[in-house]
Symmetry: C2
Subunit: 121 residues, 2 copies
């Protein structure tokens, strides 16, 4: 796999942001660094970066997929404003298997109301 400039830009944005952007968000962010980058390139690279495990995908409860750096962490998802907050200190011990199914990794999403949305209630 070649490390094209486009691929580096996309990976760089994901690794240096904690906004958990979706494909369009990444497209707009990438265009600030390389104005001619196309949506097709964004999608092609996102797919291959996910396949190779260089980035992760999060589903945010609406209809969008959002992309995240690959790091051992979990998420809090606000069910009202769909903000996603990184969690690094959650206590959960990965089982090695569930029945005869082999467990490799896991994802935990805590759902609720973020600080701001609680105030507005």
């Amino acid at each position: 796999m070649r490390r094209s400039m486009q691929r580096k830009i996309i990976l760089d944005i994901i690794n240096n942001s904690n906004e958990h952007l979706d494909a369009y968000g990444l497209y707009y962010a990438a265009r600030e660094k390389l104005s001619r980058i196309s949506l097709g390139t964004i999608y092609r690279n996102l797919k291959s970066l996910v396949d190779t495990g260089e980035i992760d995908v999060i589903y945010d409860g609406t209809d969008k997929l959002r992309y995240d750096k690959r790091e051992d962490h979990q998420h809090f998802l606000c069910t009202k404003c769909h903000k996603i907050i990184d969690i690094y200190d959650l206590d959960f011990k990965k089982p090695t298997n569930y029945k005869d199914n082999k467990v490799v990794s896991y994802k935990i999403v805590l759902e609720g109301l973020c600080e701001n949305c609680q105030k507005e209630e």
Copy 2:
């Protein structure tokens, strides 16, 4: 909200299946009970059933959303064949909050290789 026959059929299929169907799968299943039901009706009802919390959504790692009965359980997702297996006996204690964010519920997905896919490796 009116309990139309279409809505009841869709909810019934979800509650009495453990196949975690997607919108199209539900469409085909529903058509066996009501041949004139339309895709628009499926989508409209799925959206409102999710909004009212009568059903849940699971993202299966491909590009599809799948729908599930509302029950206190978690999932195992096979990263190879995308089979989803229900888990009822996972040990995790819901925190009441994460920092200043209020936690209402949580989702855990264990990922790995299911029994069948391990054999094929």
